[in-house]
Symmetry: C2
Subunit: 318 residues, 2 copies
């Protein structure tokens, strides 16, 4: 990227300047965590006022009773079916372990299995996103993650929004993720760790975005992560929490909540279904700090119509 | 190693055959976990009968009140002094991060600081080893470990005895380790994980010992670890525990208890002082499955006289 373009992108109009050449910057969040206003008409609000207040304070919310045991079984079974699909059957959305047959990640999850489409559009999941973002929503990114035991790698601290803003062109902090656990998670098998309250601080990160950064950053993110000094300060200020829970547990977390996970040498694998919901009013523009936007499996640009929610049970016969 | 030598070493007289060419073997432990008999005369027995029973059952015991706050502060301070010693001042026992000035491990710890010598010979620490092993003891190996936050690497599952037997020539399971935490440890910063009860099973591991194996195995152990299948079975049978606790916490664990630790991306470093006590009646012989014994900083062969215990407080003026 030449200097001119860089200056344009990092214009004063952007409250979340990042990938900075001269050092990182702590910036106060310019957007609400819980949005109000244009709640879609006739909408159901799944969260209680207490849950909303907790989400606003911490930047995440854990729900352990959203699904029946049968629904959890059906979801786990659907994930198994996808993992056991012949290599090649899932097209370019499937990422396999290098030199191996094991599926590690399947992007655009809702397009590959009817049950995950139902899950993504369930009031119990997407309805929460619509309630907190106070807008119609669409799926910015989704995936099925599978991490085996023994060799699970760590995922270093980051704010999702930092990358979505820099590399995808997401304008504002009006998006959130829902992670649905498909295996039991405890403190020892690399659970999601979050810094409660960190969603209120945006760390503009140092360093320019390399071309095709996503080809390496999905494996190991190096650009777009805070310095160790900033992480120490964040940790001192906010602490570190982690989410333990059985399969079926759902974690909703804000797009700017600092999070990561440790590696895992225990025999217990980890799997989850992951959906990022973005407000339709917050559709992607040009990247704020990258030459080219990332490909569509990482950041949807077409087909961003409002998601049609439903109240059906999640059934294997879906 | 030629075939002849290998056969000799893996003779029928060795109850703990390992580094096997043809596959791993589960072997029932042939030695007691808690030894009885030749308790040294006039000896003090620091552990209660309940603590001894717990150690025998689980293969480890956690003690949280062995030291006063002043003693813990003095130990932490002593560790800091050693870490801040100029590179080179500690000789060959010091291992630094590649290309960096940061001390990671200091072997023969008790020879480098009077306070750690006092610690190693304290009735509260060494007295426990003497009680459980029912013999005079000496220090087989010792070290100060320092793992920084953010980049702490995992340590894969292993039985210490497997290596000490194969590569050092330790004949029987009559040794134990004491790990004294010098930083707070919780579930998220890579604590020691142990499989309670696993000390009763010896996994004879597959694979020959490469020459100078210790030069790589200290960084990442590959030979002498159980298969994933065995680890799944061990985990199903025994479960996985971990040790959380503040600085000053002491973990005593049997030489054959299966243990490991995850990596650590949190900002919180980990440090501990580590002493391996071996019964004097269990002194090293020739390695059971390696061409040459490991060097003395890893496995003491000279100066194995009984340790002289004391009841003094641990004071910085030591």
């Amino acid at each position: 990227m030449n200097r001119q373009t860089r200056e344009d992108l990092h214009s004063q109009a952007d409250p979340y300047a990042t990938r900075l050449p001269d050092g990182e910057r702590w910036i106060e969040r310019a957007d609400p965590v819980v949005w109000t206003g244009s709640q879609p008409e006739g909408d159901h609000a799944p969260l209680s006022a207490d849950d909303v207040a907790s989400y606003e304070r911490n930047g995440y919310l854990v729900q352990r009773d959203l699904f029946t045991p049968d629904e959890v079984s059906a979801l786990v079974q659907a994930a198994t079916e996808l993992r056991e699909a012949p290599k090649g059957a899932l097209g370019d959305d499937a990422v396999y372990e290098p030199g191996a047959e094991e599926l590690r990640t399947l992007f655009r999850l809702e397009t590959h299995h009817a049950l995950f489409d139902l899950l993504a559009r369930s009031q119990r999941v997407a309805g929460v996103a619509r309630q907190l973002l106070a807008d119609d929503i669409y799926i910015h990114q989704s995936r099925l993650n599978y991490k085996p035991g023994f060799t699970g790698k760590e995922f270093y601290w980051h704010s999702d929004f930092e990358t979505w803003h820099a590399e995808d062109g997401m304008p504002r902090m009006r998006a959130l993720s829902a992670s649905i656990l498909l295996t039991d998670n405890d403190a020892l098998n690399g659970p999601l760790m979050l810094m409660p309250g960190s969603q209120r601080v945006f760390i503009g990160c140092q360093g320019e975005t390399p071309q095709d950064n996503h080809k390496t950053s999905l494996r190991k993110q190096e650009i777009g992560t805070p310095s160790q000094d900033s992480l120490c300060r964040l940790s001192d200020r906010f602490g570190i929490d982690h989410v333990a829970g059985p399969a079926g547990t759902v974690i909703f977390f804000d797009c700017n909540t600092m999070h990561g996970s440790n590696g895992n040498i225990t025999p217990n694998p980890r799997s989850n279904a992951f959906f990022v919901f973005n407000a339709v009013s917050n559709r992607l523009t040009a990247p704020f700090a990258a030459v080219r936007p990332r490909p569509p499996f990482l950041a949807r640009r077409k087909g961003c119509e409002p998601l049609a929610l439903h109240r059906q049970p999640l059934s294997a016969s879906a």
